[in-house]
């Protein structure tokens, strides 16, 4: 579904990605792990079009999208969530969802210019998504007053409103309490199933990684150290040394 080869990226003189290649199949959940500063977020930015790569090719469903802007990639089916949830802070939960729904609808149909309020269908759809992300009781609250976990849920809802084919999630459970974290895992599993999604994510929490991932890629210093299932990764000596085995360190 999504494929990239030989991605290089540097910020100034500092190389961040040194020739990353990967392939994610349809309906797969593919997780990227690695220590802080390994280049996970930068790789995400390159894949989603937020920053251009210095070299390399990204293809999506066979189409070369390397030069496309982020919004053009969203039109092709990308959905993206961030480490720190990006939502519209001054708008209510419902308005956030409506703006997303309208942004999607605008690509398929021309609404009447005289219709100022969102259509009834948009309101219903927004309420339905609010239900899916368990925020139905908070629809009128401005997003900036939501708790951290609720913000991340709202961001997921806003992204789902775009009906994406692939969901790119940067640390979906960062900074969450264990309860919130488990709820988020369940929600991701559920929406993946319901919306037939392909998912790429980065994550620190190994519980989350173990629960969600079909395949895992381990990055360190801008390079891919290993790719495989959880047990492949656990058995890999290089990975143990740099990541999971950090605690054993000097032993």
């Amino acid at each position: 579904m999504i494929e990239c080869s030989n991605i290089y990226k540097s910020y100034g003189a500092i190389p961040v990605l040194k020739g990353i290649s990967l392939t994610v199949a349809e309906r797969e959940t593919f997780t990227i792990i690695g220590p802080n500063g390994a280049g996970k977020t930068t790789l995400f930015k390159v894949l989603t079009g937020e920053v251009p790569a210095n070299a390399g090719v990204v293809t999506f469903n066979g189409e070369n999208i390397t030069r496309l802007s982020a919004s053009a990639r969203v039109h092709r089916g990308f959905g993206r969530t961030f480490q720190v949830a990006r939502i519209l802070p001054c708008n209510s939960v419902l308005e956030n969802l409506i703006i997303a729904l309208e942004a999607r609808a605008r690509r398929t149909e021309r609404g009447s210019l005289l219709q100022l309020r969102p259509s009834d269908r948009t309101w219903d759809d927004a309420a339905e998504i609010a239900g899916r992300i368990s925020l139905l009781n908070k629809v009128d609250i401005p997003a900036r007053f939501l708790s951290h976990g609720d913000r991340k849920r709202l961001e997921l809802g806003v992204t789902l409103a775009l009906k994406p084919k692939i969901l790119m999630m940067d640390e979906p459970t960062a900074g969450m309490s264990p309860g919130d974290r488990n709820a988020t895992i369940d929600m991701i599993v559920r929406v993946k199933d319901e919306d037939r999604l392909t998912i790429m994510l980065t994550e620190h929490d190994m519980d989350v990684v173990a629960h969600l991932s079909d395949r895992i890629m381990v990055m360190n210093y801008g390079e891919a150290i290993a790719v495989g299932t959880l047990s492949d990764i656990r058995d890999n000596a290089a990975v143990r040394d740099i990541y999971l085995g950090e605690e054993i360190g000097d032993a």
Binding site: V74, F78, C90, R106, L116
Partner: protein, 653 residues
């Protein structure tokens, strides 16, 4: 010819060094506080007036001039200390646009105070005898005073260069400039250093005011001659960089010299053209400073800001009643208001439309521009010129033409500007474009040069069976009211509709908007085009009302009027600009008798609004009503959550 070139370049160099003496302070303050102090030119002017008060028109000796300049420097340093504590330190935590506007408020206060204290008359100061002559070397001839200025410029540069880049104090200063948070954590008393740097910058500008006094016409307009040029210097050099400012000043001086040789008819235009090219090529300047690239900072919103409503209210009845009431009162005015007041109200309505169009960029699309008056002038001159020619083109067609013209120009400007710049660079770019237009007009005889177009006839509108004659004051006032109301209504519908929601999304978080599939650049350009078109229409409506258009319509001072109106009323509300225009017009009407007072009062109010109530007048109102609403909600357990949230929002118990 060679002589002439040499002389032009030497003159240019003198100009460049005088500019540097002012620009050094701007760049010092920006380097430390990340505040672009628009009022700096006014402080220069105050420095000049203080020195003038000390030495009078004929300084006896060079020493006396220098002594007065130093004294003036101390006075200004004291002023700087005061302003640092009362204004600058507070500006560090608010959005960039707000801090620019706050320093603009300072500019108004300073200029108004100058007029009140020293009057509006012209003074001139002669150079002391020792500097009045010239140095002649072979065929080269240089006025001593010019050499004195160049020497001072170089000396000031060397002194700053050594202090900032070589001394241990400089290391601390630069550590704070790079990372004030960490500097504080290693034990540096950052607030004291801030105060010292601001005082140093003000000392420099006060001294420059005194030293540059000779050969200068001392009027309350003095601030202007240095303001824009010193901005260019610091922007070309890279904000916050002394070396950059020095090189920028030399470049500017040489460009001025070249302008004098190549385009003697339009002085000062070349530098704007080159500045625009420069901004598009290298928006961060020659020597970008870390932290000076404000593009990222503008992208996010300050905590204190709100956004306008994204949807029409559920019930329109309240709004309709209010609108009918306001329009009704305005419509009745020709029957009871005196002619002078009616005239001001007409202006206020046009200014309100201009401010609405500016807030479409600022409050909705998140773009801060400083050249909005250029579009206004475009429309005003377009309609004024054609009405005077008596072409027979129907007036409504002229108005549509001005809309189209504004849209076209905005498209061309926006297409390039939005692609290449944002933040301060966009602000200065639009400001320069406005200034180019103003200069181009004031040197076009066909457009009446500096005097503008006067005696513009008021038109008739031929509606087939009915011929509406707008030539009377009363008739045109009603037409103006109808037109402005219609434009406001159209803009309002636009902003509460789906397009408004798109703009508000990208205003709050352009990255999120991009990942909603919204092409951020395209929608910003759309907002730019609509805004430019409406601003041109406002100009077109005003030309027959005032019956005169002057190049001042395009000046940056006029460009700031919509900003002031918007901020005062509240940029987070669609109707904010209208409220602000009404209040400002009221102030200027009430204070019209004393030159300078209106500026002091308007500037003072604006400063208080920016510092204490960034939501504007409407923001204050809604804060109170929210407190009241939350109180009522308390009785309903189902909205506990909202109540808790609301309490935090208003900071109540």
């Amino acid at each position: 010819m060679g002589m002439q070139i040499g002389f032009a370049l030497f003159n240019g160099l003198t100009v460049g060094m005088s500019i540097f003496l002012v620009a050094a302070g701007i760049t010092l303050v920006f380097g430390m506080l990340k505040i672009l102090n628009i009022a700096h030119g006014s402080f220069f002017m105050i420095g000049a007036y203080v020195a003038y008060s000390i030495i009078g028109s004929h300084p006896d000796s060079t020493l006396q001039l220098v002594f007065a300049a130093i004294l003036s420097g101390f006075v200004l340093a004291g002023l700087g200390l005061l302003l640092n504590a009362s204004v600058f330190q507070r500006l560090r935590n608010i959005g960039e646009a707000y801090s620019l506007i706050a320093t603009f408020a300072l500019l108004m206060i300073c200029n108004g105070a100058t007029k009140i204290i020293w009057g509006v008359n012209y003074h001139s100061v002669s150079a002391p005898d020792a500097l009045a002559g010239a140095v002649i070397y072979g065929s080269f001839f240089a006025p001593s005073y010019s050499l004195f200025i160049i020497g001072l410029g170089v000396l000031t540069f060397l002194a700053l260069e050594i202090v900032v880049h070589r001394s241990s104090v400089g290391k601390i200063v630069r550590a704070i400039a790079h990372d004030s948070w960490m500097a504080n954590l290693v034990g540096i008393n950052t607030s004291r250093i801030y105060a010292l740097v601001v005082m140093a910058a003000f000392f420099c500008v006060g001294m420059a005011g005194g030293l540059l006094l000779p050969n200068q016409s001392l009027t309350p307009l003095l601030f202007e001659s240095y303001l824009l040029q010193s901005f260019m210097v610091v922007i070309i050099g890279g904000l916050g960089n002394i070396r950059g400012a020095f090189i920028g000043a030399i470049m500017l001086g040489l460009i001025e010299g070249a302008n004098f040789l190549m385009l003697p008819g339009i002085p000062g235009i070349l530098v704007y053209v080159i500045l625009i090219g420069f901004l598009l090529w290298r928006p961060q300047g020659l020597f970008p400073q870390p932290g000076a690239d404000t593009a990222d900072r503008v992208e996010g919103m300050a905590e204190t800001e709100g956004v306008p409503a994204t949807m029409p209210p559920k019930s329109l009845s309240g709004g309709i009643v209010a609108a009918v009431l306001v329009v009704g009162v305005l419509a009745s005015m020709p029957f009871w208001a005196n002619a002078g007041f009616l005239f001001i109200v007409g202006f206020a309505m046009v200014e309100a439309v201009l401010a609405l169009s500016w807030n479409l960029l600022f409050g909705y699309a998140g773009l801060t521009t400083f050249g909005h008056a250029a579009f206004f002038a475009l429309g005003a001159y377009f309609v004024g010129f054609l009405l005077r020619q008596d072409t027979g083109i129907p007036f409504l067609a002229l108005l549509s033409g001005s809309l189209a013209l504004g849209a076209l120009v905005a498209f061309i400007v926006g297409f390039v500007a939005i692609r290449r710049t944002s933040g301060i660079a966009l602000g200065i770019l639009t400001l320069s474009l406005g200034e180019i237009l103003r200069r181009a007009i004031s040197y076009s005889p066909a457009l009446g040069s500096d005097d503008g177009l006067s005696g513009i006839p008021r038109p008739q509108i031929d509606l087939g069976p009915v011929l509406v004659d707008l030539s009377s004051e009363r008739a045109y006032f009603w037409f103006l009211l109808a037109a402005c109301s219609l434009v406001a209504l159209a803009l309002w519908s636009f902003t509460v509709g789906p397009m408004g929601r798109v703009l508000i999304a990208l205003r709050q978080d352009p990255v999120r908007a991009e990942f909603l599939g919204i092409d951020v650049r395209r929608y910003r350009l759309l907002a730019f085009v609509i805004s430019g078109a409406v601003a041109a229409l406002a100009g077109a409506l005003q030309a027959p009302w005032a019956q005169i258009v002057t190049p001042e319509a395009a000046s940056y001072l006029h460009s700031t009027q919509p900003m002031l109106n918007t901020l005062l009323g509240g940029s987070g509300f669609f109707w904010g600009p209208i409220v602000g225009s009404a209040i400002f017009s009221g102030i200027s009407y009430a204070t019209r008798t004393l030159a300078g007072l209106s500026e002091v009062v308007s500037g003072g109010i604006l400063l208080v609004v920016v510092l204490a109530a960034p939501g504007g007048v409407l923001g204050l109102g809604s804060r109170f009503s929210r407190t009241w609403r939350i109180g009522a909600l308390h009785k309903r357990p189902a909205v506990d959550e909202l109540a808790r949230v609301g309490k935090q929002a208003v900071g109540g118990p």
